[in-house]
């Protein structure tokens, strides 16, 4: 064994054992306090990868990759000089020599040792528990093993444990296509969090999903076949269950072996005993945090929020910062989860254990709803349980411990059932915890607005960390921030621009409801007082033109963007149906659906480019861009394109651009669906659809994802059973992986869901808000979107589909319309008084067998400062179009 005793000290050493969620949070807390600069920090991590989001483990099965689950990046670790050893667990601690030894033989001396070893899954000591096909559910490696075994032919799975983790595991097995059983020893599911009524509501909903639940019975034996693999289990009620695999999720136990072995005090039921500063009672140089620790109240906390609090507490103690001294004396066990798609939340004293209290219960078995509030004699809200709908969780939890200003039943009754009181956060006391993940109180949020000058939710999130954990409080946080801004006299003008005090979404509703097809009418009736009768501005004109164009068939308007008044509202790109480039010339992009093009058409594009002297380039969206057309050339270029069967590619519009595809099943040996056909179908269906911003899409023919669908506004990936639909992806400056909205859809289901998604986006997004940003902003996020467009929670899906159907049936190629309209064509001139004269500034010089703009010509006679300020830039398709267009102050 090689011993590198590193005690040469310019800097004292902190050794952290365990790099889970709490360990990572501890490292962040060290960094925030500057301790990573003054100390050497060494981390020993058993798992083969750095910290990841164990709470979201199950999302691996809905497409989240291990990388996406990661909680840290190389930048953080390296940037703070942290020495992280993954796959090398600590095996021994010598408290006398103050060293920790890892499995590899590495020995590190410490001045401070922090144990964050977490917990291990409890496996009941039944015969057969170690047979082939038995698993636990704790790490990414566990998940990979479960997935591999399930895919190797398992058809039925049984989960031992009907608590929180058990339901997660059951959801995962079901997602893998297994017939799934849940075996729970207690008489109900989630016995810790919910009561009998809540358990009943949960049971019904889960059984409706096709899972089989066995409560009130234990596992007696795992049965195995001749080869030693699992065949099923015997239950304590005498029944038998056939199963090809078994997952144990019957709770966890603190991992305190290392501590025991080095003589640290351990609680009766496990857990390293620590004081209020998370320091072990046996050794002041050793701390324990998270699930391996027994807190000063004698409890071991298995939730991440208390673990985070302990991480902060320990870091504060190590920093010895008296001003910021923290203590951990116990934590709220409130939780809100989505298990198998069902909201389950409990908070405060959910079971009324303190006694002398009354329950307010609302239960609707049909809808799978159960809500219970525990109220003290004096009216204090003590706690509660919510199953099926946990919308009110954020508000209720914050009120726990106080007397709510409205009758409690009004908080749990459904809207429309008597008293749908929506209690605003204004009524909360300052001590009320808004974000329990980061323990941020209302007072702290108010301070962020009042003292730190935050004027938006993202700013408050950055300043306080509120809402950056599980995200369940973002709704309440938003209400609170808005209320604080309003109270502080900070005008939160949600208006579209200086002309309209209403949002784009509100204007959309007005245009649709009142069938207003004219910008002027909208401005004069619904504009700000001072803007009525006026000119409008460059912000609202194209935004309203887009809304009218999106809704044209439904409101009886002409969908042609150059019709009548509409022509005056369009940005120059839409006005000339081409993309303006930096020297005043335009580029031309005909539609090439799905990126599929026949040789004859390729030849036509080549001939046109040659004849008009255009620069050609292949775009990222699998089509061909022709640059350098002068405005007066556009009609003759398009006359030839239309003649050859091309139509507008809408590269200039805030509308569908392209649907990329890979060659799919037809040619590719890996393809499982015909991705080209689907891409063409989708591109032709949504072509010309005006939207708040451009829309990009792609279809991949298998999971290898060659079409990069997950970086698109809506992306489709083929599966053996159909199609998976991803939404809200983006490339560009702020890349975002798309979220999986639905799986294994048929062709018809896929199209219907995209119809709904796009129309809901068009209806509710802000101007120039891509789907990625919209989805991040949407209250309730992906879950809400899924509720609306999959489960039709707002009852608007029929309307959304009808609007899309109208768009599809009314679509006409706007370039074909334009080349046949002499009055419109007359506008395509450089000079009104010299229609045949080209703009002399639009000139070109040769480059690499083609040509490029004559840039020196552009800069002749310009004030140098203006040029410097402008820099290089183009407007149109591609990255430059992502330059914020609302840069003008309102």
């Amino acid at each position: 064994m090689s011993t590198t005793a590193l005690r040469d000290r310019p800097r004292p050493t902190i050794v952290l054992v365990g790099h889970g969620m709490v360990g990572q949070r501890f490292l962040e807390a060290l960094a925030e306090r500057g301790l990573t600069a003054t100390h050497r920090v060494v981390v020993l991590c058993e798992e083969p990868r750095p910290a990841y989001d164990r709470v979201q483990l199950t999302s691996y099965f809905s497409g989240r990759t291990p990388d996406e689950l990661s909680l840290t990046d190389a930048g953080f670790i390296a940037g703070h000089g942290i020495e992280l050893h993954v796959g090398d667990p600590a095996v021994a601690v010598d408290r006398t020599a103050r060293t920790v030894t890892a499995r590899s033989g590495l020995t590190v001396g410490y001045d401070v040792l922090v144990l964050a070893t977490g917990s291990y899954p409890f496996v009941p000591p039944v015969p057969g528990k170690d047979a082939e096909g038995c698993f636990v559910y704790r790490t990414i490696e566990d998940l990979l093993a479960i997935e591999a075994y399930a895919k190797a032919g398992a058809r039925t799975g049984a989960v031992v444990g009907g608590g929180l983790l058990g339901l997660e595991a059951a959801g995962a097995l079901k997602g893998l296509g297994l017939a799934t059983h849940i075996v729970e020893f207690a008489p109900r599911l989630m016995p810790v969090q919910v009561d009998e009524g809540g358990g009943a509501a949960l049971l019904r909903t889960i059984e409706e999903m096709g899972l089989t639940v066995h409560t009130g019975t234990g596992t007696q034996e795992i049965t195995t076949g001749p080869g030693g693999a699992v065949t099923g289990m015997k239950l304590s009620d005498g029944s038998e269950l056939a199963a090809d695999m078994v997952v144990f999720s019957a709770g966890v136990r603190p991992r305190d072996q290392l501590a025991r072995a080095c003589g640290l005090t351990v609680g009766e039921r496990g857990g390293i005993v620590v004081d209020a500063h998370c320091r072990t009672v046996a050794d002041p140089r050793v701390f324990a945090i998270g699930e391996c620790a027994q807190a000063v109240d004698g409890r071991v906390y298995g939730l991440v929020a208390p673990g985070y609090e302990q991480a902060e507490t320990a870091a504060a103690a190590i920093a010895d910062d008296e001003a910021c001294a923290l203590t951990f004396t116990g934590a709220d066990l409130s939780t809100k989860l989505k298990l198998l798609g069902v909201d389950v939340a409990s908070f405060g004293d959910a079971h009324g254990t303190a006694g002398d209290c009354l329950d307010v219960v609302y239960s609707d078995s049909r809808a799978g709803l159960y809500k219970k509030l525990v109220i003290g004699r004096d009216g204090t809200l003590r706690g509660g349980i919510l199953v099926g709908d946990a919308e009110a969780y954020g508000t209720l939890r914050a009120f726990a411990g106080s007397v709510p200003p409205v009758a409690p039943e009004s908080l749990v009754l459904p809207a429309g059932a008597g008293a749908p009181a929506r209690l605003g956060p204004a009524a909360l006391p300052d001590e009320a915890v808004i974000c329990s993940c980061h323990n941020v109180t209302k007072g702290t949020v108010r301070g962020a607005v009042a003292e730190h000058g935050c004027t938006s939710v993202p700013e408050v999130k950055k300043c306080t960390k509120a809402g950056t954990g599980c995200g369940s409080c973002v709704k309440v946080l938003t209400q609170l921030v808005d209320a604080e801004l309003a109270a502080g006299g900070i005008e939160v003008d949600q208006g579209l621009c200086g002309c309209f005090a209403r949002t784009r979404e509100e204007l959309y509703e007005i245009v649709l409801a009142l069938r207003i097809a004219s910008y002027r009418e909208l401005l004069d009736r619904y504009g700000r007082e001072e803007a009525r009768g006026g000119e409008g501005c460059e912000i609202c004109k194209p935004a309203v033109a887009s809304v009218i164009a999106s809704l044209a068939p439904a409101i009886g308007a002409d969908g042609y963007v150059l019709a009548g008044e509409q022509a005056a509202l369009q940005d120059t790109n839409d006005h000339f149906l081409a993309n303006l480039q930096k020297n005043g010339s335009y580029s031309v992009v005909p539609r090439i659906p799905g990126g599929e093009i026949a040789p004859e058409k390729l030849i036509v594009i080549g001939e046109i480019a040659r004849d008009f002297g255009l620069y050609t380039k292949i775009t990222g969206g699998q089509r061909i861009d022709m640059f350098g057309a002068r405005v007066e050339q556009l009609p003759s270029i398009w006359a030839r394109l239309v003649d050859a069967g091309f139509e507008s590619g809408h590269a200039y519009g805030k509308s569908l651009r392209t649907v990329k595809s890979c060659v799919g099943q037809t040619w590719c040996r890996y393809g499982v669906q015909d991705s080209v056909r689907m891409a063409i179908d989708l591109e032709l269906r949504y072509r010309g659809l005006r939207s708040p911003h451009k829309l990009k899409s792609a279809v991949s023919g298998c999971a290898r994802e060659c079409a990069e669908a997950q970086s698109k506004d809506f992306g489709v990936i083929a599966t053996a059973n159909g199609w998976n639909l991803y939404v809200g992806g983006n490339g560009g400056a702020t890349p975002r992986h798309a979220d999986l909205l639905a799986q294994d859809l048929s062709d018809a289901e896929l199209v219907r869901l995209i119809d709904r998604f796009l129309m809901f986006y068009i209806r509710t997004a802000d101007r120039l808000e891509r789907t990625s940003v919209w989805l991040e902003r949407l209250p309730g996020g992906l879950d809400h979107l899924r509720d609306v467009v999959v489960h039709d929670s707002l009852g608007i899906c029929d309307e959304l589909e009808a609007l899309m159907a109208a768009h599809v049936s009314h679509y006409r190629d706007e370039w074909a319309q334009t080349v046949n309209d002499p009055e419109k064509l007359a506008r395509f001139v450089s000079f009104v008084n010299a229609p045949d004269t080209p703009d002399p500034v639009v000139a070109f010089v040769p480059e690499r067998d083609q040509m490029k703009p004559d840039l020196p010509l552009l800069s002749i006679g310009l004030p140098p400062r203006a040029l410097a300020a402008a820099g290089a830039g183009t407007v149109g398709d591609g990255a430059a179009a992502d330059v914020p267009e609302g840069s003008t102050p309102r």
Binding site: G536, L569, N833, L858, L862, A866, T888
Partner: protein, 142 residues
């Protein structure tokens, strides 16, 4: 390949040469003509450019001037006319006529279609950079 000759002086102007432009003191608008002409005041006098009907309210057009410069002409909702230099001083491209118009506290402006800086239509002053200004012209229709 289309390469434009170096000269900035076009030879395709409308027949009404500047010297023969109507005198500026001709009275008021709409003096009975079916479609009034939009005219620009140049040092040589009023220079006719186009029919008023060629201007779409809220939208601009470009016109070529005798010395090779370009003007951007605009007509607002109430019929008022504006003219400023067509060249965007931030990029050098002759595109201001293709911008969208608006009004900032009553001051009419056009936003460049390239990088969106706004220019006062009456003075040519850039509203987003006080050191930048483009030429403004007097314009009328009769």
């Amino acid at each position: 390949m289309t390469l434009i000759p170096d000269t900035l002086t076009p030879d395709a102007l409308t027949p009404e040469a500047p010297e023969t432009a109507p005198a500026p003191e001709v009275p008021g608008p709409a003096s009975g003509a079916a479609d009034p002409k939009v005219q620009l005041l140049l040092p040589e006098g009023w220079f006719p450019l186009c029919d008023l009907s060629a201007l779409l309210p809220g939208r601009g057009v470009a016109a070529l001037l005798p010395d090779g410069r370009q003007a951007a002409l605009f007509r607002d909702r109430s019929g008022r006319l504006y003219a400023i230099d067509n060249r965007d001083p931030f990029t050098g491209a002759a595109v201001l006529s293709r911008g969208l118009t608006g009004a900032d506290r009553g001051r009419p402006y056009v936003a460049s279609p390239l990088l969106k800086q706004r220019f006062d239509l009456t003075s040519g002053q850039c509203l987003d950079d006080e050191t930048v200004r483009v030429a403004a012209y007097e314009v009328r229709a009769q």
